[in-house]
Amino acid sequence: MLGHLPALQVIIPLISAPVCVLITRASWAWLLATIVSIASFVIAVLLVHEVSAHGVLSYHLGGWEPPLGIEYRIDHLSAYVLTIVAATASITMVAARKSIEQEIPSEKINLFFSAYLLCLTGLLGIVVSGDAFNIFVFLEISSLSSYALIAMGRDRRSLTAAYQYLIMGTIGATFILIGVGLLYMLTGTLNIHDLQQKIPAIVDSRTLHAAFAFLTAGISLKIALFPLHLWLPNAYAHAPSMITVFLSATATKVSVYVMLRFFFGLFPPDISLEQFHLGKILLPLSIIAILTASFVAVFQENIKRMLAYSSVAQIGYMTLGIGLGSANGAIAGMVYLFNHAIIKGGLFLAMACVVLRTGSVRLEDFSGLGKRMPWTMAAIVLLGLGLIGIPFTGGFVSKWYVLSAAIEQGHWLAAVVIVGGSLLTILYIWKIIEYAYFKTPVSAKLQNLTTHEAPRQMLLPLWLLVIGNFYFGLDTSFSLGYASTAIQTLFR
């Protein structure tokens, strides 16, 4: 049984998705999705232990030997990202019920959860798979289901957002497909481990350069790296609240994983960095992403969109870490990924609480919410501190490591931008606090509204994330320790 864990990680959500279509009772569909999410979290934790104890796990699908057969390969890096995805999925699903019942028409709830399970399948599949083409297929499974999920938003603009994401996402995925095809043309293999052995011999080939370029453009589109981020703010702002929580903490994170896996796993790190100058592409774009996206976020009136722009900036921090081109930089990027999943997931979950009670995420409608929804607002403040990077929060740890990796490499401009980005973060988080605590509602509609605190079923997961934000600010043995082992095995 334990030996089949890598396959079970993908198969359980995959099989549950069609089962979910058959369940017509909304609450049962929710229950199934929640149980499956928690099961995948349990499997992820078991895998973390297995990998720590026995090293890399290689699972041969259907018993066919790699490189001909498809291999599922779990190393420290995959186990780490699996835990993040599965944990976010569990927390989102536990909290999701009330919010989903309010935002999704009841006859579509089972289909909604079915699409969610497919999305989870795709994301977990990307991480477990050790086969480049298989990664493309899982990428498309997760993307197609997330387009459908985003289109279920309550506003008609969710449709155009989903359409825009569909066009850009498909172009990105097709670029990745071209890259994988060119690699296959050169080496005759699709297995990542096998490709890694064969690439150093053909490093001068122009086809390899083209493959690298296509992969970079495709993966950057999926990550939403500046200037390919245009799909993200609309998609996050108009998607159903719980889907924003789920996607913000998983989809772009898994794409960052794909970048690490392809450029430091499939291509040996020294070839990516020295022959193909990955750092020279990533560093300037990341710096612009941090500055412009944070700046744009300050002027947003819709808080979900503000946080979405903030995500674009935070993604800049992760790619900045990766672009620094040192093992420490990549570790910093991974730690950033981990803490940002907690913080941004939490902030969007707080938005879901607000939408449930007031039906609006406009800044001015936040007036006086500090009194009406004290627990939700307190969570926003504490998670906001993490986003800014105040000491004793997870956000501080991750910013600190990116900063010290930048200084270690002598990138002073990057170091200044990291600190400057934090200052801009203070500005937009302060705007939320100012409205929630120091302004009284202007419109009569809001004054008469008897808004009360969000249900406990949503507050508990939210506060779990708040506690996580502080816990991982003090104890970094998993977030940093595991990431270091993961990256060091790649850079060895």
């Binding site: 989903a162 569909l166 172009i171 097709t174 609006s360 406009r362």
Partner: protein
């Protein structure tokens, strides 16, 4: 040069045509058509690389032992399925956009969105 790499030239021309339609056309359905052309060019790229000179179809027969590589065909079967689902989903979203906005033109949709205040 062109004759040697004829298939690959076709791939590049189709790819750029599809890509240009996606970027430049404001009609949502035509964008999907462009996307299809773009993806088809990638299918041709894969199929072209699988051809072995003088090789036959990869079915075991007694007369020859030189076969074309079957693997890219299999990969592309999967990619075609992905492409079909993308098209279906895209068209489904367009159908709902048409119901909500009464147009499938991107510029007209943006105009309507600008009128509606941000929520």
């Amino acid at each position: 040069m062109i004759a040697d790499y004829f298939n690959y030239w076709v791939v590049i021309v189709l790819m750029m045509m599809g890509f240009y339609i996606v970027i430049s056309d404001s009609n949502l359905i035509k964008k999907i058509i462009g996307l299809n052309i773009f993806q088809t060019s990638v299918f041709i790229l894969f199929i072209s690389m699988s051809k072995v000179k003088g090789g036959t179809a990869p079915i075991l027969i007694a007369e020859t032992d030189l076969y074309s590589n079957p693997l890219p065909h299999v990969l592309i079967l999967t990619a075609i399925v992905v492409s079909v689902s993308t098209t279906a989903l895209g068209l489904a979203i367009i159908a709902r956009i048409h119901r909500a906005y009464d147009t499938v033109d991107e510029t007209a949709i943006h105009e309507q969105d600008d009128l509606q205040d941000d929520n």
